[in-house]
Symmetry: C2
Subunit: 358 residues, 2 copies
Amino acid sequence: MQRQSLTLEDVAREAGVSRATVSRVINGVRNVDPAIRDVVRAAIERTGYAPNRAARSLVTRRTETIALVISGAGEEDGSDGGSDDGRPGDGVRNAFAARVFADPFFGRVISGVVGFLRPRSMHPVLMVAESAAARKQVTEFLRQGSADGALVVSTHAGDPLPAQLVAEGLPAVCFARPTPPVPVSYVDLAHREGGRLAAEHLLARGRRRLATVTGPLDLPAGQERLAGFREALERAGTAYVPIAEGAFTRESGAAAMAELLAGHPDLDGVFVANDLMAQGVCELLRERGGQVPQEVAVVGFDDSSVALTCRPPLTTVRQPVEEMAAAMARLLHEHVRGERTEPTSLIFEPELVVRDST
Amino acid sequence: MQRQSLTLEDVAREAGVSRATVSRVINGVRNVDPAIRDVVRAAIERTGYAPNRAARSLVTRRTETIALVISGAGEEDGSDGGSDDGRPGDGVRNAFAARVFADPFFGRVISGVVGFLRPRSMHPVLMVAESAAARKQVTEFLRQGSADGALVVSTHAGDPLPAQLVAEGLPAVCFARPTPPVPVSYVDLAHREGGRLAAEHLLARGRRRLATVTGPLDLPAGQERLAGFREALERAGTAYVPIAEGAFTRESGAAAMAELLAGHPDLDGVFVANDLMAQGVCELLRERGGQVPQEVAVVGFDDSSVALTCRPPLTTVRQPVEEMAAAMARLLHEHVRGERTEPTSLIFEPELVVRDST
DNA sequence: TTGAAAGCGCTAACAT
DNA sequence: ATGTTAGCGCTTTCAA
């Protein structure tokens, strides 16, 4: 019950040794007599001692904490929308945060990061950075030594945060190759390969009148998925593919599909650059009386939770987000400990998951 | 670029004053000559000084950090399922974490907490605690002074974490009244009132053959929503209401609805204790050719993102999760600063949101 | 209003 | 193998 106030000194006295010895036992440094080690451990147990993180951090210059930053380039207004909790200045609903956390993708990122950190008794500090002010908070946080480094997941192209972190000499690892290029480590997916898998699957299903709903084409992920799809069709003899650009949201997927159908009412297969948009596509088709997959086959991307929720369950290109997120955490961990110095890229392979939409 | 190594001393020298004065300026303590204040600020600006958090924390005994804990009672195995990232001991996919973050509810909690914290330059440390070992990590984390307190969101009845925190004298605030009772502050919803709103709405729509899919009945939220619904019907003269218990998941909602239909094929209205289950209910009805709302009216609960995603969009009882989460953060903040000492409850009012499912 | 100085609790270099 | 000791960078009395 006696919060804190219990120090190494107290444990040392209890065990009849010096502070240094207790410290060694706690940190698992060798050169400690096993008998003494046990005595110290007993004393720690008896007193209920817990080492003070701030004091340790002050001398080791490590916090054993990392920041997980969800970053966006746009929305520069910086104001908090919505109502407040009754006190001035407390924006309770952050539109950016709300939108971000409604996307099942981030749940998977968090799950992967936590999966790596937790066995190491580390925990991520969650930061949202959609404005210049918010990005400043992130760099300040790290400069103060509140965390040893940052994991950055950008939602937009041209996010300035990775470059800012590198400029300050702060350890960082990104999810997806940053645009514009920055000398920083990142994990990414072989998006092009994913597009190829989708194309080959649709062709194998006998579909010939194909089209695609792309992601935002300013994002490498959007471009590459399209390029891979196109390239595979080209090799199979198809020179032209109708495309409509979406924004990775359900609504934009439905809108893009409507656009495609307007110009090509006889489509029999669509590759949609993420599952959320594919869900919108399926809904639109159903509203118009179109059967999936009988009339139109739909291939999604990500294998997120909506791929299962969607009616029919989606055939999709799986992105191993949890594994990628865990690898991102591992890279950062290595950078922080100096075990890795060069910016490193880690590219994961996508995998086709066949369900009922094809 | 010269990471850290820049101290108060350096700034003091640069400004031609003492460390103490610089410290005062930084912390906004009065009794500083405005002229000197400006000189110091300029020096800080020029040098790019950032105060060291560990050093400050060591003397103030505050971290200005709080933990956001997603806690569950079950799953005591403690093992990490799924594959690993190639190194032994790294469970990358945490089943509990994955399930939790797939629920849109937690995105709203995070959004609300961040909304309160961020204007104060604070950020939450995210912790998942589904096993005894994980709970131990949480209490250790706080005992080490890594965070000033914890926000606890329990997913199960009988979560032992709140009691453990109180026993250790660690500041904590819960989302929802803990079971069994614990002397701790919490925010909650007037669930009973929510059930009443649903009942009255269905009656007003002229529905008379009603039933309900409840949440887990070991959870106060599950019990109370049911009680409110039942009570309102009772007052309107209906003595008996068929019920089927669900688990707050889409699948369990569909299963419960199938059970209800088996016994009562002529139902014309259902109150479903959360939106996720209501989605399952709507899907099941559609699969069986039932029209929503023409044949069966469906009222959900939460007003989460799936209420909009669902076909048709759900009439639902809104739970102001973001506001509740922000209030939870505010309560903890006040407890930590000693501005509040007594365990406090803050009950929010639900609100009916009418859409197309009724 | 400002400065000098005493720690906060810990680790790590050095001495033994 | 263990103990002694010098800080880590900051806040905060206490004097001036």
